[in-house]
Symmetry: C2
Subunit: 329 residues, 2 copies
C-alpha cells in the first residue's frame, strides 16, 4: 500500500465493518470502547523484531517492558486504567530465544504490570518468522467517568502535552551512534526513555477527570498524532514549536546530528506522552492535578482539519510529521 497512508487504509477497512451491540467506539481511536458501567477499552499492538525493535540492541527485559507499555499508553490516552494484558509470543525457529530470555522478557513485562495495577493474564506461544509480541489490554474507565476520544476537541481548546518530548528519538539516535552523546550527562537517561517508556496512566485519568475533550498518545510523533486528533475532531490544530517541552539533552543530540531540535521534538516518535485538548479554563487545575508537567503547545481552531507547525509565527513544513505505515515508502 505504498500509495496509501495507514489512515486511508483504515478508512477503507472501516467501510467493511459494522458496529454491533455493546460497542460504543469501533475502529479509529486509540482503543475500542465497550458499553457498560464501567465502560471498557480494548487495545492491541504488536512489536516485531526488525521493525519495532532490534533484538541485537534490546534486552529481553526492556522488550517486555516496551511491548506492554505501548498498549498501556493507548489505555492511558482513553483515560482508563488497565485490568488485564493478554500476550501472544511468536518465537523464530532460527536463533530462538532461550527459556531464560523469555523469562526475562516476562519479568520486564511483569514489573511494569505490577506498577500499573494490571495482570499479565494470558500467554499464547507460537512459531513466527521473527521474534514477535502481540499484546492486547483491557482497561476500565473509572466509575462515573467517560472515555476520552480523539474526536472531541472543540475550537479554542488548548493543546497540551504531558512530560517531555524528543527523548525517545534522541535515545534511539544515541543507541545507533553513541558518539552523538559524547560528554552528554543526559545520554543514559535518553536511552532509558527510549527503552522503557513510561505510559502516562495517572495523567490520562487526571486529564479525563479534569475535562480534557480529546486525547491521543504520542506514539508516532507529536505533529502526526496532533493531525490524527484534529482530523478525528474536525478541527484545525496549530503547534507552536518554541513551546515544545524538549527533554534535557535532546537539543544537544539533535545539534550533534545536524537536526533541528524543535522538529525532532515535534516529529520524533515513541515518546508515549499524552496530547490532550483542554478548555482553557480547565488548564490551571489540571496542571496542579497531574503527576507530570502539562505544557500548552498549541491551540485548536475552526478550519480545515489538519495541523500547522509554527516557529515564531512562521509556518514550517517538515518532510514528514512522524512515523506512519506506508507513508515513507
Amino acid at each position: 500500500v505504498a500509495d496509501l497512508t495507514e489512515r486511508a487504509l483504515l478508512d477503507r477497512i472501516r467501510a467493511h465493518t459494522a458496529r454491533r451491540l455493546g460497542v460504543a467506539v469501533g475502529i479509529g481511536d486509540d482503543a475500542a470502547v465497550l458499553d457498560g458501567e464501567p465502560a471498557e477499552v480494548v487495545t492491541q499492538d504488536f512489536l516485531v523484531d526488525g521493525v519495532h525493535f532490534r533484538r541485537a540492541t534490546t534486552s529481553p527485559e526492556d522488550l517486555g517492558h516496551k511491548a506492554l507499555a505501548v498498549s498501556l499508553s493507548d489505555v492511558a490516552a482513553m483515560g482508563a486504567g488497565p485490568v488485564a494484558a493478554v500476550v501472544g509470543l511468536g518465537l523464530p525457529t532460527e536463533d530462538e530465544p532461550s527459556p531464560e530470555e523469555i523469562e526475562a522478557l516476562y519479568r520486564g513485562m511483569e514489573a511494569l504490570a505490577e506498577r500499573s495495577g494490571c495482570t499479565v493474564a494470558g500467554g499464547d506461544i507460537s512459531e513466527a518468522p521473527a521474534l514477535l509480541l502481540a499484546v492486547a489490554v483491557v482497561g476500565r474507565v473509572p466509575r462515573g467517568g467517560r472515555p476520552v476520544l480523539r474526536s472531541g476537541a472543540s475550537p479554542d481548546d488548548v493543546l497540551c502535552v504531558t512530560g517531555a518530548l524528543g527523548a525517545s528519538a534522541a535515545g534511539l539516535m544515541l543507541i545507533d551512534d553513541p558518539r552523538l552523546g559524547a560528554g552528554l550527562a543526559e545520554a543514559e537517561a535518553l536511552r532509558t526513555t527510549h527503552r522503557r517508556p513510561a505510559p502516562r496512566l495517572a495523567a490520562g485519568r487526571a486529564l479525563a477527570a479534569g475535562g480534557a475533550t480529546a486525547m491521543i498518545d504520542v506514539s508516532d510523533g507529536l505533529a502526526l498524532d496532533a493531525l490524527r486528533l484534529a482530523v478525528a475532531s474536525g478541527v484545525a490544530a496549530t503547534i507552536e514549536l518554541e513551546r515544545l517541552p524538549l527533554a534535557p539533552g535532546v537539543a544537544e543530540v539533535a545539534v550533534a546530528a545536524g537536526r533541528e531540535p524543535d522538529l525532532l521534538g515535534a516529529t520524533g516518535g515513541e515518546d508515549y506522552e499524552l496530547l490532550a485538548a483542554v478548555p482553557e479554563g480547565a488548564l490551571p487545575a489540571l496542571r496542579v492535578a497531574l503527576d507530570v508537567p502539562l505544557t500548552p503547545v498549541g491551540r485548536v481552531e475552526r478550519g480545515v482539519p489538519g495541523v500547522r507547525l509554527l516557529r515564531d509565527g512562521v509556518e514550517i513544513r517538515p518532510a514528514r510529521l512522524g512515523w506512519e505505515h506506508g507513508a515513507e515508502r
Copy 2:
C-alpha cells in the same frame, strides 16, 4: 526452546507473573477471565504467513474468517459470547497485499463477526516480516452464568466432543495433494472446513448452561487438547478411538494417504470443535439442547493426570498427540 513444550514454557512464564485485582483466571486457560457481572473473557491469537497459513493457498476472505474464528473458538470454549475483536494487521514490505486484498480480508472477518454478534472494533496496521494477523477478542459470559475453565473436570465425567473430527486435517491434506480426494464427494466440504472453521459459540454457551464442568477447544488435536484439560483438572482422561465422530470423507482421505483414520481424527488439529467434560446425568438434556451433535468419546477418571487413547480396549501410543509448539523439533 527445542527441549521445552509450550506447556512447560508457560509454567515458567506463569512463575513470573502475578494475578491482580479484577482478574479471576490468568495464564493457562483458553482465555483470561475478568471479574465482573457479567464476567468477561479475553483471548488473543495471531496467525503468520508460513506458519499458520500460506498466502499462496489461502484467499484473503478465508484468512480473515480464520483469524477471527480461532479467537472466537477460545471464547466459545469458555461458554461466553464475543463482543468485540481488536485486530492488528502486519504487512510485509515485500509482496505487500493490495488494498483490495486487505479489504477482502476484512470482509471475510466481518461476515463471521456479523454471524457471531461481534464487532470488529479496532484495527492497528504496521509493517511485519510476513503477513500477520493478531486478533484479540473480549467476550461476556451470559448474566448469571460462569465461565467454564479447563480445570473443572471431575472423575466419572464423560468427555464429549461437538460436531465432527478430522475434517480440517483431511481438508489440508487435500489442499496440499488433491489426488488424495479423487472422486471423493466430500472433498470440497473438507477443504472448506479447513479454510472456514465454524467456532462453536452457541454450543459453548449451551454446554456451560447445561452443566459442563470443563471445556477446551480442539485447536491442536483432540488428544493433545484432552491432555491439557486433564492436566489442568488433575485427572486422567481416556479417549476411545472407535467412538470418534469422524467427518464424512475423513476416513477415505486418511486411507488414501496411508494414515489411520481414527488417529487422524484424534490428532489432526484445527477442528475448532469443543471438548467438554460433562456429568453423565447432564448428557441427555445437553444432546437435545445443542445445535450440533454431541458425542461421548471417553471418560474422566481418578489417576495420574494424562491422556490414554484406547482402540477396542488396547492402548495406542501415537508418535504425537497433536500440534504443539516446540514439541516436534
